[in-house]
């Protein structure tokens, strides 16, 4: 009896308050739609940014006359003494030359007659932010200014300073902006939904008052409202997801073949996104109507 009664009450209320209900539904739809577009976008952007950041490395050039013992010592130094090291690759003189030949510059080196390229360690940091720590460990600042090196066999430590700095600041800006936008969007949608619910409740505060006077318990009054919220949220969510699905199939999928950004590896898969959006829309409107009602229940 009870659940059927509450459901009938909720549907009756939806019919009688068609306009506010539609407004709530439209708000949920737009919000879910925006979130649905935004979440993959943010993920794709951070994915792309991360990819760029992962390219940040430090090159440690050995002196050209470095022996194998020197190389081993420096490798040990990097692996044990230097903090925040993510990955170390060693590029020997020969390998470096081979790479130059691959790049089509073999003639130039043949002309030289000897191999001027040094042995090189390429260090990628565990986190791009820590790149300065690695540089400081390998090339500590000298009291007289300038930089020395941690080992006499090291000729130079180069961190592509300018590239690194710009990359870091760009990715930081991208991260901050997306986080800020996402935060604003979430606040706006919560306020919108809460306001819509409050408006439709305000229109019915007299009804709630009468119910209380007849001896209805708080939950007896609340259930139909909560169910109403669930129905509105679910409908709005489903409609938004359908729209998203259409857009994905019609627009994004064909484009994905051409654009690297959209196909970024870290994008959430579609079913999970749908489930999340539906859950969020239902939960927000149900909890929203339940909570907004509190004010009017104090009779």
């Amino acid at each position: 009896m009870s659940f059927g009664f509450f459901l009938r009450e909720a549907i009756r209320a939806l019919k009688r308050n068609a306009v506010p209900s539609f407004a709530a539904l439209a708000t949920t739809l737009v919000t879910v739609l925006l979130l649905g577009v935004f979440i993959p976008m943010v993920q794709a952007t951070t994915g792309a940014a991360n990819e760029v950041r992962s390219k940040i490395i430090i090159n440690v050039f050995m002196k050209t006359d470095a022996k194998q013992a020197d190389v081993d010592r420096v490798q040990k130094l990097i692996e044990t003494q230097v903090p925040h090291v993510g990955k170390v690759t060693f590029v020997s003189k020969k390998q470096a030359l081979a790479r130059q030949r691959e790049a089509g510059r073999g003639d130039f080196y043949d002309l030289l007659g000897s191999n001027p390229l040094p042995d090189t360690f390429r260090i990628s940091p565990d986190d791009p932010e820590n790149i300065t720590a690695i540089r400081d460990a390998l090339a500590p600042a000298k009291a007289s200014g300038g930089r020395g090196v941690a080992d006499e066999a090291i000729d130079e430590v180069r961190d592509r300073k300018e590239d690194t700095a710009t990359l870091l600041s760009v990715t930081r800006v991208v991260k901050l902006t997306t986080a800020l936008l996402a935060g604003l969007l979430i606040i706006a949608s919560v306020l919108l939904i809460a306001n819509t619910i409050r408006l439709s409740l305000y229109a019915r505060r007299r009804e709630v008052e009468v119910m209380k006077l007849v001896g209805a318990t708080d939950w007896f009054i609340r259930w139909p409202f909560v169910l109403e919220g669930v129905i509105v949220g679910a409908l709005g969510g489903v409609l938004a997801v359908l729209l998203l699905g259409v857009v994905k199939v019609a627009v994004v999928d064909p484009l994905a073949a051409d654009f690297a950004l959209i196909a970024a590896p870290d994008t959430m898969n579609f079913p999970l996104l749908i489930a999340l959006l539906l859950f969020a829309s239902v939960a927000v409107s149900a909890v929203g109507s339940g909570i907004s009602l509190r004010r009017f229940l104090r009779v």
Binding site: M1, R206, V210, M211, K212, L213, G215
Partner: protein, 275 residues
């Protein structure tokens, strides 16, 4: 009526029925409703009820009269536990209202029928649904509703208006719906706050007749009103409030001596006196 006689006997036993009741007193046993030393302050200077005491016994029909601002509505609001008194004790059927926790208030209210000046009907429900709601709230089954609602609507003379919405009814009819809703659970106590405040004299008599009929089934009825003419004609117990104090508590117009009237006789007398 047995309840009335019992109550009269009890009243005679007590020292002075007209005592100025500002002194706190222990609630009388058997009273369906008792105020003892009830004070209600809205602010430090605004005293709505100033140590009011009275008892109302089962089966009584009591008028609570006074000019507006005398504290009638405050007393009613205290009774439905919409407000809490700042001092004193209110007992309904022996239960101290102050001891009823917030969560139990709805269950307490189901034992009261409440009627308001502005009817307080649910605007988007038919007459039938409005009355049925009072039963649905208490978990009444569909069968119970199908049996009781037409019954009570017949009693209140609304059988032909079952499927009308409140705004399609006259004021008198709306008030009848609200009486029907208040009485459908057969509560032992019926409270009416200015039930005829928005109605013309003829319609008011009809409502009073209805309340009298309900009273004759054994239900205690308390009516707050400022309609002195109506009160005089009814010749029932009158508790008069002025500036938050009880200034009169008496059986108006020799009510005690009068034999029991049928509803028809009662109505005929009211109509006779209006003409």
């Amino acid at each position: 009526m047995a309840a009335t006689e019992r109550h009269l006997r009890r009243r005679r036993h007590r020292d002075d029925p007209h005592r100025p009741s500002s002194a706190p007193h222990p609630p009388a046993t058997g009273a369906v409703l008792s105020f003892s030393g009830v004070e209600m302050r809205y602010s430090a200077t605004d005293v709505a009820l100033d140590h009011v005491s009275f008892d109302i016994f089962p089966g009584e029909f009591v008028f609570l009269v006074g000019h507006s601002g005398s504290g009638k509505s405050t007393a009613m609001k205290l009774l439905i536990k919409e407000l809490e008194p700042t001092d004193g004790e209110i007992r309904v059927a022996g239960r101290d209202l102050q001891r009823i926790p917030r969560a139990r208030v709805p269950y307490y209210r189901r034992n009261l029928g409440v009627i308001f000046q502005d009817y307080k009907l649910l605007p988007n429900r038919t007459v039938y649904e409005n009355v049925a709601y009072a039963l649905q709230v208490t978990g009444g089954t569909r069968r119970e509703i199908r049996e009781k609602v037409p019954d009570i609507l017949r009693l209140t003379g609304l059988s032909l208006k079952l499927h009308s919405y409140p705004d399609q009814l006259s004021g008198g009819e709306q008030q009848r719906v609200s009486v029907a809703r208040a009485f459908v659970n057969h509560p032992p106590l019926l409270l009416a706050d200015e039930p005829t405040g928005n109605l013309d004299p003829e319609t008011s008599i009809g409502i009073m007749q209805l309340l009298y009929r309900i009273n004759r089934t054994g239900t205690t009825v308390v009516v707050a009103t400022h309609d002195v003419a109506m009160v005089d004609r009814m010749r029932r117990r009158v508790i008069e409030l002025a500036e938050g104090r009880v200034v009169r508590d008496e059986l108006a117009g020799g009510y005690a001596a009068r034999r029991e009237e049928t509803t028809q006789e009662f109505g005929a007398r009211l109509w006779g006196e209006i003409e």
